[in-house]
């Protein structure tokens, strides 16, 4: 007669978690190296237009940002209206303030880098060109000629 053995429960040893910190640190370092700090909090809503022939902006420290778009939240829209606004640093601005903004951005740079300063214009795709033209005129007055129209890479053909 066969002996019926009592089934023995196999115990699984505890999984060692001693290498977990190493793995997490590895991910941490990856993120520290590959990302950069957020500098401004957006108060405008913007969705970049698409383009195929875009170039990367090489030196981030030489880039100043101008954001254009409708106010981001419902509260701000109630206060400032639906029309596209310009954001410099962290607040809404008028086109007339661009000259001052460019001057302060330029002062923050090394003297040798000042003529390499680029303005990155991040505008919502539904913005009217009137606002953009105003900005361009102000930039020309401020003698900041290098400009980059921010756009995201489009897949396939533009229609």
């Amino acid at each position: 007669m066969p002996v019926i053995r009592k089934k023995e429960k196999k115990e699984i040893g505890q999984i060692s978690t001693s290498s977990l910190p190493d793995i997490v640190f590895m991910i941490l370092f990856f993120f520290m190296v590959s990302t950069s700090m957020k500098e401004t909090e957006l108060v405008v809503k913007f969705k970049a237009p698409q383009a195929t022939e875009i170039q990367k902006l090489e030196n981030k420290s030489l880039v100043s940002y101008i954001y254009v778009g409708p106010p981001a939240t419902a509260e701000l829209r109630a206060k400032f209206g639906e029309a596209a606004k310009i954001q410099l640093n962290n607040s809404f601005s008028n086109p007339e303030q661009i000259g001052q903004f460019i001057a302060s951005e330029r002062d923050a740079l090394n003297e040798s880098d000042r003529n390499k300063m680029t303005v990155c214009l991040k505008a919502d795709k539904d913005t009217r060109m009137g606002v953009i033209t105003d900005i361009k005129q102000e930039l020309r007055k401020a003698e900041s000629y290098k400009i980059s129209y921010a756009a995201s890479k489009s897949v396939g053909n533009l229609k």
Binding site: S36, Q55, C120, Q137
Partner: protein
Amino acid sequence: MAKKTPEINASSMADVAFLLLIFFLVATTMDIDSGLNRVLPPWSEEQSEAPDIKERNLMLVHVNKYDQIAVQGELVQVNQLKDRAKEWVLNRNNDKNLPEKKEENIDLIGKHAVSQGVISLQNDRGTSYEMYIKVQNELTRAFNEIRDELSKAHFGKLFNDLEKEQQDAIAKAVPMKISEAEPQNIK
């Protein structure tokens, strides 16, 4: 005898690392800025007329507030724009109405007929930014394709794969002349 130091408990190390990780995930961005690079013309107080450019060397591109595009006064679609611009700049048949070419000696390439054409882009205040970028993009694409063709012919590679000096030579042979004109109202 020296006292044995007790082992430090490292079990909370993972928690600390996770905390740091989450901080960096929240506080940083990964997006690389990219866009269409342009150089604005210098500001002049008296709104002077465009510098003396012969009529045949100027291609006028208008975009009105209904986002319609006109090339030399003729309505075109966005997808036709690139070929129109390319044909116009290249002027393969040396047409009298299309831009002049000037023989120039360029390092690494030698003699090359450089087109003198300037594309002037004018828009209305009511034009949408999206359309403006599309037009800019198509015009850039026209020049990039011409550059690619020339690079293929001379170096057997695409423009982006060339060495720095070779790129400079090609850029000199095919200058990207897109002018953003003084703002004016277009009907």
